[in-house]
Amino acid sequence: MSTSNIVLNVNGIEVIYNHVILVLKGVSLQVPEGSIVAILGGNGAGKTTTLRAVSNLLKGERGAVTKGSIELRGERIENLSPADLVQRGVVQVMEGRHCFAHLTIEENLLTGAYTRRNKAEIAANLDKVYAYFPRLKQRRTSQAAYTSGGEQQMCAIGRALMANPSMVLLDEPSMGLAPQIVEEVFEIVKDLNARERVTFLLAEQNTSMALRYSTYGYIMESGRVVMDGPAAELATNEDVKEFYLGVGGGERKSFRDVKSYKRRKRWLA
């Protein structure tokens, strides 16, 4: 990677929750302009925390970046507010949906365009989101709380797109979505990336998908980056294959045949 076109540069950050719980222990990563970068890792590895640190949503969780630096296009952003970041084109899709429960789906989407003024563009964008997720159009007048889990997830993704971002932080976008929608979401990512040069940083559990669509990957374990490399390389790495793709040692094993569940291997103990 050349350093010139790096949009996001996370440099050795340490994150502490509640003044005492140290969660990230020096995480560094770079996201080049126009790329799709994936963060992979097991539950509790710190993926979400990393994304929150970038989008500055840590404060609401009583977390703080205590060491290291985060730069967006060369500008230090640790002290900006999340709203400032959205102004600079960085939008996060939060894990676990977080739709505005009392607003309808359409209101949710329109709220996503809060930072924009041009009515025509917003309307066009809304149509685009509805085109991506036809299901949302059907449910546009329901209050978000009363839509299904997958519908909420689509709503959250669509809402972020309404801000017309230049960089999107996606936290587990595939969660709760039906397979073909998952596929579609990644196609949308690819599409936006290719056509509008939107940069993506995504945290995913669906490793095979993530590696298929991303350009570069970081693997995290208990608050550290333990491995990184171009997506294609990672996809062929034996360990990754075994633990993240479930195809260790040749063919995909049936879930029925995996034997014991006490065989976890970690890069770092």
Binding site: G60, P82, A83, L85, H98, H102, E107, T111, G112, Y114
Partner: protein
């Protein structure tokens, strides 16, 4: 019959006055999901400012025209409420993003104490007068139909009008503008709102400021009725069943709730009270609100309480 009508009217107008205070609660609740305990203190603070400024301005500037002085005092008091709103955001709310309702509630309570102390320090704790030229004496209408006529209080009538205008304006603001939508979003989920670029700080300043102005109007009207002093803050307690009955999130609800509570408590006090020794209106208001809640747990116009799994 005449007396019944009188009581009814009296109740309606008292209700409108409650609504004015209730509006302040609704605004802030709608915009941040916080039940603002400081509303009563804000009413007091605003009224104190208004009362003392309208007294000081002629003294300091030699302004003789009373209307001009009052107007200036109103504007200055409004500006003061803006400063309060800004300080509240800057010193309190921004540090409590994404915290639970109870925490925020408590914080507004801290604000309430602070404002009560500050208000009395700056403006004194005696009884002060706001005289915006409201007519005090009663008028009697329909004296052809009923012996003695029906008593109407002009002051209350004006107050009710002002309240109605405020409500219409605020309803429009909430229903029709993007900011209104953003406010509701903030109330639902601070973090998600932040994540899509809604500047919580600015939103809160706006809302607290609007609530401050509503408090100022309420304080002015109540103040001209009661005189301005500490007890004004307790008016909030009478407005509480109104908010709850109307629904915490509904501006029109605050009005309708006010009318129902106003009428209910006056009728009960006048007709049931004497049978049980009187003094029942306040608990009756609460029981009335409770009765409605049992049928509609979110109040008449409140947003449905969502519980989903």
């Amino acid at each position: 019959m005449a007396f019944f009508l009188e009581t009814l009217l009296g109740g309606l107008m008292a209700g409108m006055l409650y609504s004015l205070v209730a509006l302040g609660f609704v605004l802030i609740f709608k915009a941040s999901g916080v039940f603002n305990f400081a509303q009563g203190a804000m009413v007091l603070f605003a009224a104190l400012a208004m009362a003392r400024l309208s007294e000081w301005i002629p003294q300091l500037t030699g302004l003789q025209n009373k209307v001009a002085a009052d107007l200036l005092a109103f504007v200055l008091a409004g500006a003061l409420m803006f400063v309060v709103a800004w300080l509240v955001e800057w010193l309190v709310l921004r540090h409590l993003v994404n915290q639970e309702g109870a925490t925020l509630l408590m914080a507004t309570l801290g604000i309430a104490y602070f404002l009560e102390g500050l208000g009395q320090t700056l403006f004194g704790s005696s009884i002060y007068k706001i005289d915006i030229g409201m007519p005090k004496d009663p008028v009697f209408v329909l004296d052809k139909v009923f012996p003695g006529g029906i008593l109407i209080n002009k002051e209350d009538l004006y107050a009710a009008l002002i309240a109605a205008v405020l409500v219409v304006l605020l309803s429009l603001f909430f229903q029709k503008t993007g900011t209104g939508r953003a406010l509701r979003a903030v109330a639902d989920d601070h973090q998600a709102a932040q994540s899509i670029g809604i500047p919580l700080g600015r939103i809160w300043v706006i809302v607290w400021c609007v609530a401050g102005v509503v408090a100022l109007v309420a304080g002015m009207i109540w103040g001209s009725k009661l005189g301005v002093q500490f007890s004004l803050a307790t008016v909030a307690l009478r407005a509480l069943p109104v908010v709850i009955l109307g629904g915490l999130t509904s501006v029109p609800g605050a009005i309708l709730g006010g009318l129902i509570i106003g009428v209910g408590e006056k009728l009960s006090e006048v007709y049931i009270g004497p049978m049980v020794g009187g003094g029942i209106e306040i608990w009756f208001a609460y029981v009335l609100a409770l009765g409605v809640l049992l049928i509609r747990p979110q109040g008449l116009f409140g947003e449905k309480i969502i519980d989903r799994v």
